[in-house]
């Protein structure tokens, strides 16, 4: 009697980078043609999948996860389950993205509004891109695909596809000198109720023939969009208006213009990176007829600018405390009193830096209306510098237009 052959096959071991593609749902793989049509270079065929967008450089890995939640059917007569049933199926694609650029940030935020053009900030004819957020509750849906060449044959591919994906992650950027600012993307797959059972959420497959023909779609790997470098923290006063959404900068220093934001204040030296995050809480709509969620909505939006401040001036401590009361008597004292102030003031905070490869161009992250929330610490100690953490949490400014009620990220192009 012959034995059964073992399957030791090292070619079956998967390793290698991939690319992420956002594909309009209208041009996504269909219920009949469930796989992507690839062009000869392994990119989505531009004819079959028009308007597909490459999501740029990836910091580390792209992870596709398909996770069933199985419920056991338990009976009293048996100690082990006698059967099971699928309660939910969650499919997601996650990655750490490298390119800090408005279009790509919009993709992971989902509920942000993108705009581009030219304006007078800081000089006439300055090209800009910007992303605003706050007041948008429709969650955009997109087909997301990861395409990775196989280790043995770069003309064949391992592909994962979520037919309808929604971004769950928002973005959190650590803007500083020590490390390039990456941000996590997580897209969750929804059930496409119009598709055949068994293939409603996505597909994972490997091509076994070399890709050929088709019309390649351009990739968007752009190292100049990778941000690394220091940023400064500013209290911007008066805040940008609903009509002039950007922080107006001085052309030479790329700091808040004293003409437009006359009462602005620099918050001094910071220790480590300034963290800027815009994170929507996306809730999923589930229907009992489907194992995956069928829709999504925005529950809330949490936006923060956080930093560790080194400059413990009384003015800075008062700003960070929020409910502190700052007084300066020139040549005599500066003080921050506290106790008895119930209503923290709303202020506008911005983190302003320069592009790594084009230092004459600024990037600005601004929250129009924040409260300081973390309090302050003041440490008298020989061994360590006294620092205090600031955490400014964005609020909705109800006087502004929907789509730009909370904040803006803008960059000179």
């Amino acid at each position: 009697m012959a034995g059964t052959a073992k399957d030791y096959n090292v070619t079956e071991i998967v390793q290698g980078p991939g690319d992420l593609w956002a594909i309009p749902i209208a041009s996504a793989p269909t219920d009949v043609a469930v796989r992507l049509t690839l062009a000869s270079d392994g990119t989505p065929d531009a004819t079959t999948h028009p308007s597909s967008v490459h999501l740029g450089a990836i910091m580390t890995a792209i992870t596709t996860q398909v996770k069933p939640k199985i419920t056991n059917i338990q009976t009293d007569q048996f100690e082990a389950p006698i059967d099971s049933y699928l309660a939910e199926l969650e499919a997601s694609i996650a990655a750490e993205m490298a390119q800090v650029e408005s279009q790509k940030l919009q993709r992971v935020l989902g509920v942000g509004t993108y705009s581009t053009g030219t304006n007078n900030n800081p000089t006439s004819g300055t090209a800009f891109e910007q992303l605003t957020w706050g007041g948008t509750w429709t969650v955009p849906k997109i087909c997301l695909a990861c395409i990775s060449p196989t280790r043995q044959n770069p003309n064949q591919y391992v592909v994962s596809v979520l037919y309808i994906g929604v971004s769950m992650s928002g973005f959190a950027l650590a803007l500083g000198r020590a490390k390039a600012a990456g941000y996590k993307l997580q897209m969750q797959g929804l059930s496409d109720t119009a598709r055949t059972a068994g293939q409603q959420i996505g597909v994972l497959y490997q091509t076994l023939a070399n890709a050929s023909g088709g019309t390649p779609t351009a990739k968007a790997n752009d190292p100049t969009q990778i941000f690394e470098g220091p940023v400064d923290l500013w209290l911007v006063s008066p805040a940008p208006t609903d009509a002039t959404m950007q922080v107006t900068l001085d052309a030479t220093t790329l700091t808040p213009s004293t003409l437009v934001h006359a009462s602005s204040a620099h918050l001094g030296l910071t220790e480590g990176a300034v963290t800027f995050s815009v994170v929507p809480k996306i809730e999923l709509v589930r229907a009992d007829q489907f194992d995956g969620a069928v829709d999504a909505y925005v529950n809330s939006l949490e936006c923060k600018i956080e930093a560790t401040c080194l400059s413990s001036t009384m003015a800075n401590l008062a700003q960070a405390l929020g409910v502190g009361n700052y007084t300066l008597s020139a040549g005599a004292y500066a003080q921050c009193t506290f106790g008895g102030t119930n209503q923290p003031p709303a202020i506008c905070i911005a983190a302003i830096g320069r592009k790594r490869t084009a230092t004459t161009k600024a990037v600005v992250a601004c929250l129009y209306r924040v409260n300081a929330a973390s309090g302050v610490t003041w440490t008298a100690q020989r061994a360590k510098t006294s620092t205090f953490k600031v955490e400014f949490t964005g609020q909705s400014d109800t006087t502004r237009t929907s789509g730009r009620q909370v904040g803006i990220y803008h960059e000179m192009m």
């Binding site: 956002a22 309009p24 209208a26 041009s27 269909t30 219920d31 009949v32 043609a33 796989r35 049509t37 065929d45 079959t48 028009p50 308007s51 967008v53 279009q103 919009q106 993709r107 989902g110 509920v111 942000g112 509004t113 993108y114 705009s115 581009t116 053009g117 030219t118 605003t132 948008t136 429709t138 969650v139 955009p140 849906k141 997109i142 088709g214 237009t401 929907s402 789509g403 730009r404």
Partner: protein, 73 residues
Amino acid sequence: MRGLNLFNAETRRRGDDMREYRVLLPIDVEGHIYQFGSVVELDLETAKAYSHALLAVEEEAAAGSQKKDGEEK
């Protein structure tokens, strides 16, 4: 940038390169915000600037008919 869609048939400028696009991500074109799923009419130059967030309605229709055909390449 040109080709602002005024959403007004009487005042809308129609050029040869004006086309309708489905909005895939919210965009603000010259102060007017278009939400996900809406249709906007833009000139080619403007559409290029917002290409990551748009799908031409013609291409959408073509993809739809391809879906019906069930053609798999």
